[in-house]
């Protein structure tokens, strides 16, 4: 490994003029990589590549966006191979260039002056970057296909699903309409769409998100491509559906022997489904290897940091996440040498001189000071147990909370049906569930942004749901909220200082502007932002910084209770860890009680003392964090937990079967009896008759299921 660094040029400058020389060099490196990769793969798992030569081979890919006065280096020389029957993951945070590089590999970037891409890409040993556009078009969809992130917008709303699957077959395969239709039905069956003859003639809006993504996969498979690139294929989907889709993809790869490039930000997915991993940072691959190597023995400092920042389901308590300080660099002014060095504690002078170069087929990393950690997540420091919080007081006691939405024409969505939960004082209740389960409605009714249909919410002797206008104004100082999307939760026209000072002045918490300015500075300090941020506008800040401002704004009112509505779901892993740590610190510093609403079980696990699991407007299981995560009782909770891909899953847990069948029923027409019965493996006829009452397993652990 050391020897390889010496072959790396001492100062790589990204200039177009240098590309030929660089690609020659990396071509030599790649030979080594290929043979080493073969060796690794052979003993890695049962999915040995069928062919020796890679199906897809990307070499020294650079992508630049050119504007009148700036040059963005989005991708800076990445190389990777994909073999038959192999899942290769490109993993990294937003802006690292993983999606752009895949568009470049598909040659879907505009070939105009504003975007340049160079390098080489070979499909079956043939360099197709050199092909004219017309020849490339014939390759696309036939030999190399792509699945996009947003199944909602990636299908044409005006054409039937069948038509969209058939299109590439008619274009590339010289098939008759009849044959193509027959194959479309076959494909839909293969990707798990039931009743394909009928559903072929339906339009995308008649498909759920998961079903659309299945249709997208059918489109990609239509012409039997050799390689499929999947760009964040499940990011827009719920965790149970995500598991279904990835199981499907993995199965197809194994069965058909295609090569799959999986682009994702989710390290858990990588662990469970990928054979090889390339970790990207600021346009470069910083570490490559088999999933086991990279996830269990990460060497590059960025990979180590990233892995430390991921909250884990199997992590018994809320230790601080090991976050990476700072922000990813702007592509406009990348630091010289290793792009990570400014956030890296091990960086030295040598890091500024050269980026290092990943080499060594098996496990390579572009780092001069590689860390050497066995499972960095296995060294809990400063463990402190918080399970004992259960016997403290109750900050908020919600009983029988119901909310109906009347849609007109007599249709009613019963968004919440008699919800009960308690938020421990000075502790956190995590409310978890998939989209559409009603968890956000809980927050909105508690905040009186919507009026509840029935129920009570007792906060220190006041019923938040029946409080008068004047009382609500009072309560709003004590009960605050942090919103999900940092992009929309701050008024784009107000400076940060103004946004923070306005509530203080309106409520008379500060008497003068000067006093408010002092308090603003204090609040910014509390959430770890420099005081000069007060003069900025929201668009001049990053997502993580904005979320800190949102927290500061809530803290300004000196609340005792904060509702956190998906506070970190819009943030990248390393930033997410920073914000989660901040929230934990503030809680212990200020004695705050949190109601945390989230879909990410790991986030819930990390901050919550108690957890309530919601499904279709009902709470199916509540308990302390350890009860619920270590001994889940309700079949839905169990399925949910099984769906979450965890880092510990490397190579082991793959292909253990789909956790939950089917999809969420329409909230307009929920199943009778137990709402989960339509997807439940234990369901019997009785489940359709009775709405299960909560069964107590301990003082805190309640499960609404008649089968446990």
């Amino acid at each position: 490994m050391q020897a390889l660094w010496t072959t790396a040029e001492t100062a790589t400058r990204d200039s177009i003029a240098k590309f030929p020389a660089e690609s020659r060099k990396s071509a030599r490196v790649s030979d080594v990589m290929v043979s080493a990769a073969k060796a690794v793969l052979a003993d890695d798992s049962g999915t040995a590549p069928a062919a020796v030569a890679p199906l897809l081979s990307v070499r020294d890919l650079h992508v630049q966006f050119v504007s009148q006065d700036a040059l963005l280096n989005a991708v800076r020389g990445i190389s990777y191979d994909v073999h038959a029957g192999e899942v290769v993951a490109l993993v990294g945070e937003s802006g690292c260039g993983k999606s752009v590089s895949s568009l470049a590999v598909m040659r879907l970037l505009p070939g105009d002056g504003a975007t340049r891409f160079t390098g080489a890409a070979e499909l079956n040993g043939k360099d197709y970057f050199a092909l004219p556009e017309e020849a490339m078009r014939r390759l696309r969809g036939r030999d190399i296909a792509m699945i996009f992130q947003e199944p909602m917008t990636s299908l044409n709303p005006l054409l039937t699903i069948g038509r969209q699957i058939i299109e590439p077959m008619l274009e590339h395969l010289d098939m008759t309409m009849k044959d193509a239709e027959r194959r479309a039905v076959e494909l839909l069956t293969k990707v798990g769409v039931t009743d394909p003859e009928r559903r072929m003639h339906q339009y995308p809006h008649e498909f759920s998100g998961g079903m659309r993504q299945r249709a997208m996969i059918a489109i990609a498979l239509a012409c039997n491509p050799k390689v499929i690139i999947a760009d964040e294929p499940t990011t827009a989907l719920d965790v149970t559906i995500q598991a279904q889709i990835l199981e499907l993809l993995r199965g197809l790869v194994d069965e058909l022997g295609v090569g799959l490039v999986l682009i994702t930000h989710n390290l858990g997915l990588v662990a469970r489904y990928a054979d090889r991993v390339h970790v990207m940072y600021a346009g470069r691959i910083v570490e490559s290897g088999s999933s086991a190597q990279v996830l269990e023995q990460p060497r590059h400092r960025y990979t180590i940091g990233l892995l430390g920042a991921v909250p884990h389901l199997d992590q018994p308590r809320q230790e601080r996440l090991k976050n990476i300080p700072g922000q990813p660099p702007s592509l406009r002014c990348l630091p010289s040498g290793c792009a990570f060095r400014l956030r890296c504690e091990a960086a030295t002078k040598v890091c500024a001189a050269s980026p290092g170069r990943a080499g060594d087929g098996g496990h390579s990393f572009a780092c001069f000071h590689p860390g050497d950690l066995r499972r960095p997540i296995d060294n809990p420091t400063g463990t402190e147990t918080r399970g004992g919080k259960a016997d403290t007081g109750i900050a908020l006691r919600v009983r029988g909370l119901s909310k109906d939405f009347h849609l007109g024409k007599g249709a009613t969505v019963r968004a919440l049906q008699a919800i009960d939960f308690d938020v421990p004082e000075g502790g956190t209740l995590g409310l978890v569930g998939e989209s559409g389960c009603g968890k956000t409605t809980v927050a909105r009714t508690l905040l009186r942004l919507e009026e509840a249909t029935a129920g009570s919410a007792d906060y220190l002797g006041h019923d938040m749901l029946s409080a008068t206008k004047a009382e609500v104004t009072q309560l709003r100082q004590q009960v605050q909220v942090v919103y999900q999307d940092p992009h929309t939760s701050l008024n784009p026209r107000h400076r940060i200082g103004h946004a923070l000072a306005e509530p203080l002045l309106v409520h008379g918490l500060c008497k003068s502007k000067a006093e408010a300015a002092g308090r603003v500075e204090e609040l910014l300090g509390l959430v770890g932002l420099p005081a000069d941020m007060a003069t900025r506008y929201p668009h001049q800040m990053s997502g993580g910084q904005r979320q800190r401002v949102g927290i500061a704004r809530a803290l300004g009112m000196n609340p005792k209770f904060i509702i956190l509505d998906e506070p970190v779901s819009a943030l990248d892993v390393s930033i997410q860890a920073q914000v989660m740590n901040l929230l934990a610190d503030l809680q212990s510093q200020l004695g705050l009680s949190y109601l945390l609403i989230a879909h990410d079980l790991a986030v819930i696990r990390h901050i919550s003392d108690r957890v309530a699991v919601m499904y279709l407007g009902r709470i199916v299981e509540t308990g302390t964090a350890s009860e619920l995560f270590e001994a889940p009782r309700h079949p839905y909770t169990q399925a949910l937990l099984a769906s979450v891909p965890a880092l510990a899953d490397v190579g082991r847990a793959r292909r253990q079967g789909i956790a939950v069948k089917g999809e969420l029923p329409s909230p307009l027409d929920p199943p009778s009896g137990c709402v989960f019965r339509t997807r439940c493996p234990l369901a019997s006829a009785e489940c359709a008759r009775v709405v299960p009452a909560p069964v107590a397993f301990s003082e805190t652990h309640h499960v609404a299921c008649i089968k446990v």
């Binding site: 996009f148 917008t153 299109e167 590439p168 997208m216």
Partner: protein
Amino acid sequence: MIRYVISRLLLSIPTLLGVATLIFFMLNVLPGDAVETMLRAEGGNPTPELVASERARLGLDRPILVQYGDFLSGLATFDLGTSSWTGKPVVEEIALRLPVTLQVAVLAMLLALAIAIPLGTIAGVYHETWIDYAIRSFAIGGIALPSFWFGMLIALVMLWYFNWLPPLGSPSLFDDPLRLLQQLALPAIAIGYRYAAILIRMMRSSVIEVMHEDFVRTARAKGLRAGHIIRRHVIPNSLLPTITMIGLEFALLIGSLVVIEQVFSLNGIGRLFLDAVSRSDLAIIQGIVMVLTVIFVVVNLLVDFAYAAIDPRIKLA
């Protein structure tokens, strides 16, 4: 689809009722005595007795709500009252003039659509090239030139260079379609240009927008031909906002119709309207506003149906 059509038809009734009410009260309650104005227009200085008897004859001395009730019940039976000027039923007066107006409108609309959809698509597909600039310049002309002035200019040009003016009279569509076309071509071009320009701009911008949609990227990833993508994916999706615009901007077309009839001395609804205004013939004014509103509403209904025919998402809603 049939249920959709029926429900949309029923939904437009309250709107029309609202328009009728608004117009009725606008004309009858707002200041100004119509009868007096009318009698003055006939010449002479009417005595108060004459005004009163004339009001009684026209039924204008009854309480306003009674008149309103009459007006509404008349509407229900397609009886719009009688003209205070000619004494003939309003429906008859309007029916006499409506064909010319409708023919110009339909001709202008067809002309505009035939130009706008291809040009807008081409401009959008080749945006930021010389062909786009050329089409946009053409469209800017349509936006900026007032149609009545543009009508005058083309008439003058025809006169100077070809010594030709549109034929007079009222040729029938069935007996002498060519002569009718000669008569209506210039007014239709004059008002169609502006309409076309608006639609070109709409079509162009929606084509550009749709070309950035994810599903177009999907279509490209499938390796489909550019022409196929534009025909099957881009154009249908771009048509949706353009179709909406066709309905909305039809209001402007109707407005320019009234004016253009004056320029080309066409004996259509616009002329009748202006005459009625100068004689304060309230029944005619009300009737024409109702008819024009109905036309506008009907065009918008057709537009909605066309939209629903293209967009499968509508049928469920």
